[in-house]
């Protein structure tokens, strides 16, 4: 506990120390900004190393600068939501920290001006400007192509009214809102993708998230995901959480792991502490996910996309909670709230899948490497039907967006959309496609519940408990090796029968004697 208080004190004191500059007093910022690029020019006039730093970060490169393994990062891998960046880069670029990507960005992202405000705006309005400029694709963030929001804006008027200059004069530290403007809304809707990240975290209750709730620790994302030279800790592509099983010295730098603040034996009950070498903190302390009243996607069937209404127009269908369960641009989607995680051993590495990689029915395209090493972590599991090449049995890219009718969201024709995307990737495609079910594992790290809501023993320590599908771990109470009990109780019963028989004979003989 002392360690936590000390860490918290350090973390919470940082913003106070950092506030040595009041940007509203800088004359260079008191100008009428008319373009986003002009804002960046003003920023880098003083912060002249910032762009260089950011160009080296995963937020810019969308891949890891790590030559030891095959390229990973969103630029390269296939995920079950928006399949691939390469052939859709112009629109995927809405979430890039620059000012857009060129239409086909296959192997790397060139350096260019960095959009400072997307992370450092404190008014909460900037992301709206950014995402609703020319070229941004409504459909990426709004599963119904923005129809519900359009109706709201028509009746209520816009919510975002700050001018660029007002935003610039109030720049500051990143916040849950700024990080969330990309990381909460990816996957097509609020909370759609990660399961443990949604806009509910902005005003979370303690029960929803002890760390980010204002009544709880009141932390911002960057308190755990600390940065050095604009490079952040805690990416899933280089997660340290499974590796940190012992307390880590502050001299090692920022970690974004539970253990770095709490130590590896943080509980009062030493028997509970005995779990921490095998069970990750998250496993007990994130008892369920998508708990903020916002649903996360559990299934996405892309094969159903492309159906148009009688007037040959795209249409949307909603469930009773307003979730989009069908859209012509997206296909069929299913949702869940307060879900039970799946559990698996995780050593920090994921097996990932790239465009053109072999695929089989039901294959996990993103999954923790399944060796029984590391610790047992909770995961959000998500199924998705993705296009594949029937003859070559490889995953295919999609052309979702673009200027001509070949893009799925223009022409609603899968054949054309896949032809165009495979052309962009210049890959060997037989021309014969179908859809295949894939599985995605996504680690759960946010939405930590109060200790009183953590899993109780019996959740796992019973037959068919939460760990039932996890191999290589012995749980008292789970009746493993149940064959032993069956034979042993049989022997006990036979013994009881034998002594009762012996007693009965004694009684019969005694009666006959008398």
């Amino acid at each position: 506990m002392k360690q936590v208080i000390f860490s918290l004190a350090l973390v919470l004191a940082l913003p106070l120390w950092a506030a040595t500059a009041d940007h509203s007093q800088f004359d260079v910022l008191k100008q009428n900004f008319t373009s986003l690029e002009a804002v960046t020019e003003a920023c880098v006039g003083c912060h002249n190393q910032a762009e260089d730093q950011l160009h080296k970060s995963i937020h810019w490169q969308w891949q890891l600068d790590d030559s030891t393994q095959a390229a990973i990062g969103k630029l390269h891998i296939v995920n079950g939501y928006y399949n691939n960046v390469g052939s859709n880069a112009a629109e995927c670029g809405s979430c890039h920290i620059g000012f857009g990507l060129s239409a086909s960005t296959l192997t790397s992202i060139d350096t260019g001006p960095v959009d400072c405000l997307i992370c450092h705006d404190t008014t909460g309005d900037y992301f709206f400007e950014k995402f609703h400029q020319d070229g941004a694709e409504c459909t990426l963030c709004h599963d119904d192509r923005g129809k519900a929001n359009q109706a709201r804006v028509d009746s209520e008027g816009p919510r975002y009214t700050s001018t660029l200059t007002e935003m610039v004069l109030s720049v500051g530290d990143t916040s849950i809102e700024t990080c969330g403007s990309c990381h909460f809304y990816d996957g097509g809707a609020d909370g759609a993708k990660h399961g443990d990240l949604d806009s509910g975290l902005v005003n979370a209750t303690v029960a929803q998230d002890v760390h980010m709730s204002k009544e709880g620790a009141g932390l911002e994302c960057s308190d755990c995901h600390q940065s050095n030279n604009h490079e952040f800790e805690g990416s899933r592509y280089s997660g340290k959480s499974p590796l940190d099983t012992e307390p880590v010295s502050a001299l090692e730098g920022s970690r974004a792991t539970c253990v770095s603040c709490h130590g590896n034996r943080p509980m009062k009950d030493e028997k509970l502490n005995d779990h921490t070498d095998v069970v990750a903190c998250q496993t007990c302390h994130i008892p369920r996910y998508a708990r903020n009243g916002i649903a996360t996607k559990t299934n996405w069937d892309w094969s159903a996309a492309g159906i148009l209404d009688r007037k040959q127009r795209p249409f949307s269908q909603y469930d009773s909670n307003g979730n989009v369960v069908y859209d012509s641009a997206k296909g069929a989607m299913a949702y869940g709230q307060a879900l039970l995680p799946s559990y698996a051993w995780h050593d920090g590495t994921y097996q990932r899948t790239r465009v053109g990689d072999p695929v089989a029915e039901g294959m996990a395209i993103t999954a923790p490497t399944s060796e029984q090493s590391g610790r047992i972590f909770p995961f959000h599991t998500f199924t998705s039907k993705l296009p594949y090449d029937v003859d070559n049995e490889i995953l295919l890219p999609m052309q979702l967006t673009g200027r001509d009718r070949s893009a799925l969201w223009n022409g609603y024709d899968w054949g054309a959309a896949i032809d165009a995307a495979t052309n962009t990737y210049n890959m060997n495609y037989s021309g014969n496609f179908d859809f295949i079910t894939t599985l995605t594992y996504s680690g759960l790290n946010h939405g930590v519940a109060p200790a009183s809501d953590a899993l109780t023993c019996i959740e796992c320590h019973q037959k068919d408990g939460r760990m039932a599908k996890v191999a290589g771990v012995y749980l008292p109470g789970a009746m493993q090796n149940g064959w032993l009990d069956r034979y042993a109780w049989l022997i006990v019963l036979l013994t009881i029968a034998a002594v009762l028989g012996h007693g009965l004979l004694r009684w019969i003989f005694a009666r006959r004697r008398s």
């Binding site: 070498d277 019996i458 019973q462 012995y474 493993q480 042993a488 022997i491 007693g503």
Partner: protein, 206 residues
């Protein structure tokens, strides 16, 4: 003749141990997952508290055995074993006199000696040691055993095997105490300390 067989401490030890072991059996099989009654967490707490209590009792009892010389009652003897087996399998039905009668010098018949000795030097240490390894499974000295294939799973399984062996002892024990002159004779002795045994001396003079 009334013989004082079981001293006060001996009876206290026997009944406290009996109670603790029954509670540990009941909670132990709940921890195993055989049924749900107290709840896993409480079952563990009760099981562990009983275990430490029993260990303290054993320490005192081992001390008692050696300071009073009572351990001599558990030294095995060959003579009389066969006669006792023959009695249990034949004589007891025909109403033959029991081949052995307890005295202060020999409280237990030759088979009892063997049974109780095996309880004390084999069954109880077996469950005691596996239980301690189970409880301290995550300490370095137990983790080290894992390198020889004795991990938590193997330790827990052996602990359960030990429990079943003791259950078999318990069944036999409960039945055999009914084989005295009367059904309740032995039980009464363990409660009051005294047992009525036939007066041997006149027979010896014949």
């Amino acid at each position: 003749m009334r013989v004082k067989l079981f001293k006060g401490y001996e009876r206290f030890w026997h009944w406290t141990q009996a109670l603790l072991m029954i509670v540990m059996g009941v909670t132990g099989f709940e921890i195993r997952g055989s049924y749900s009654w107290l709840g896993f967490e409480l079952a563990i707490d009760v099981h562990v508290i009983c275990a430490w209590t029993l260990i303290v009792l054993w320490v005192f009892t081992i001390f008692w055995h050696f300071t009073t010389g009572e351990f001599r009652h558990y030294i095995p003897r060959k003579e009389g074993v066969v006669a006792q087996v023959v009695y249990y399998t034949r004589g007891i039905f025909l109403g033959s006199p029991a081949p052995f009668h307890p005295s202060e010098q020999q409280k237990h018949n030759p088979l009892q000696r063997l049974a109780y000795l095996s309880l004390k030097v084999f069954m109880l240490p077996f469950i005691w040691i596996t239980g301690m390894l189970y409880y301290f499974y995550n300490e370095p000295f137990v983790q080290w055993l894992g390198e020889f294939g004795l991990g938590l799973e193997q330790i827990a399984t052996l602990h359960v095997v030990a429990a079943f062996i003791i259950i078999l002892f318990f069944v036999a024990h409960l039945y055999l105490i009914t084989t005295g002159e009367t059904v309740g004779q032995h039980l009464k002795a363990m409660i009051t300390g005294y047992e009525d045994v036939p007066d041997k001396k006149p027979e010896a003079k014949k």
